[in-house]
Assembly symmetry: C2
Homo-oligomer: 306 residues x 2
Amino acid sequence: MVYVVGHKNPDTDSICSAIAYAELKKKLGVDAKPARLGDVNPETAFVLEKFGFEVPELIEDGEGKKLILVDHSDKAQSVDNIDKAEIVEIIDHHKIGDITTPNPIFFLAMPVGCTATVVKLLYDYYNVEIPKEIAGLLLSAILSDTVIFKSATTTDKDIKAAEELARIAGIADINTFGVQLKSKLSDVEKLTAEEIIKRDFKDFDMSGNKVGIGQIELVDIKMIEDRIDELLEKMREMKESGGYAGLFLMLTDIIKEGTLLLAVVDDESVVERAFGKPLENNRVWLDKVMSRKKEVVPPLESAYSS
Amino acid sequence: MVYVVGHKNPDTDSICSAIAYAELKKKLGVDAKPARLGDVNPETAFVLEKFGFEVPELIEDGEGKKLILVDHSDKAQSVDNIDKAEIVEIIDHHKIGDITTPNPIFFLAMPVGCTATVVKLLYDYYNVEIPKEIAGLLLSAILSDTVIFKSATTTDKDIKAAEELARIAGIADINTFGVQLKSKLSDVEKLTAEEIIKRDFKDFDMSGNKVGIGQIELVDIKMIEDRIDELLEKMREMKESGGYAGLFLMLTDIIKEGTLLLAVVDDESVVERAFGKPLENNRVWLDKVMSRKKEVVPPLESAYSS
Ligand SMILES: [Mn+2]
Ligand SMILES: [Mn+2]
């Protein structure tokens, strides 16, 4: 049996692509099962309920397991003991990470907005009909990852895939469904500062510096403005205890289309080198910036390497 | 402009897949050009001449270049200064190597016998007709890498691709063409010991040990038997000067289907742990073993890690 599993702090893409790709593998005769590496967020919970899926099984240790990785190819984002797992496939849309294998495997990464788009293309390639409910999952993942096509990571392939999936899933108004979906994550009132920071949080190694970057997408950034001091306080704490050189939180406004970046860093000049604007009071507004992967990680990486 | 380039010590797959994939990219509107990282071997020279292609441009430094890598995903096997190149795609059939990228790219690795098989599938995927001469190149690469389908790396996909390519290229008898092709590399008389060892030679890092493995395929291993002492002598020299923990040479008999493995190693027990048979006089016959990638590298890697 092989588990299909996304990254830690799973987002909707990591959960839905795991379910949909496990389903495809089963149709191709492989004994596959979706899994997850952490709690599902409210957006994902909404999607699973809407299309009638259970929350996948939680796995916490890769040792001895056969794994298909989706939505990541970096050890740091993968299951604990990934070095003791057997990785049999990787399906991704991020930069190529540091996972290596002792044997040849199927590895498909595409520079598109969402792993679900790649999974949709694989259903087509194998000529396997996409079930209505699976189409709903894949569409949701695309709308989530591309912030309803507003993220700079969005490609024509994502839009085309989403349109076909919406037709199969019977969803007439993609945009309205997308806003409904994204609003599930905007409900930050009941969350602690730590929960907000860790909602979608990833660790990176940038030229030897440990860097953590969280992101939360909001229908309106005003919803969180009066909690910024509280968030910064918690980020300082996490930076200390986690040994980070820099801790960042992207407060992304999906309607205004931009990100208020909060930063607690050893060397504040790294922000100006990365984005051409200085931090003021631990924050800087980045107009049009919506994608961590495409618009925040690469400039920070080159700032840290210079 | 982007260069499409295979690994160092190029084999027929690395050269032919580079030419064929550059051609496909051009048809898809990309300004692509094939390149190579070293001299072509007599088999490859025969193939290029037969199908009417020039030897691709030699490149020696990756700095500042845009590259599509074929037939490898390991830094050690790639162009010098690969860290200063921009890698825009990877097409491969080996284990996943240590190359990472700062941005998402197209990366397709498949567990098949030859990169040319993956390139053939990509022509099909993009619905681009394969020119007759390109089909000849791709067929040659498959016959070369799979040792006329005898290597353990051979899959149904390779055989199916080769049959279709032979039809396009107008080659009626695949097997006869394969033996003709492979015999070009059997002509070892005029080669020095060093040329034989380095003909198809790769470096590996196995649990911190520098390991080098060469391979030469022969229509009849007898052709080289009286030169084994000379080969071992040269291997001892190369081991010393190169700081290797182990230096191996596979003398592969493509008719008898097996490999006489020559080894000059710090710790001879590694061979018995890897292959279940001890070295005698720096050599051991491995029946049915024809593939470095699938039958020699993995057992050696686990022997070195234990
Ligand atoms: Mn994703
Ligand atoms: Mn190859």
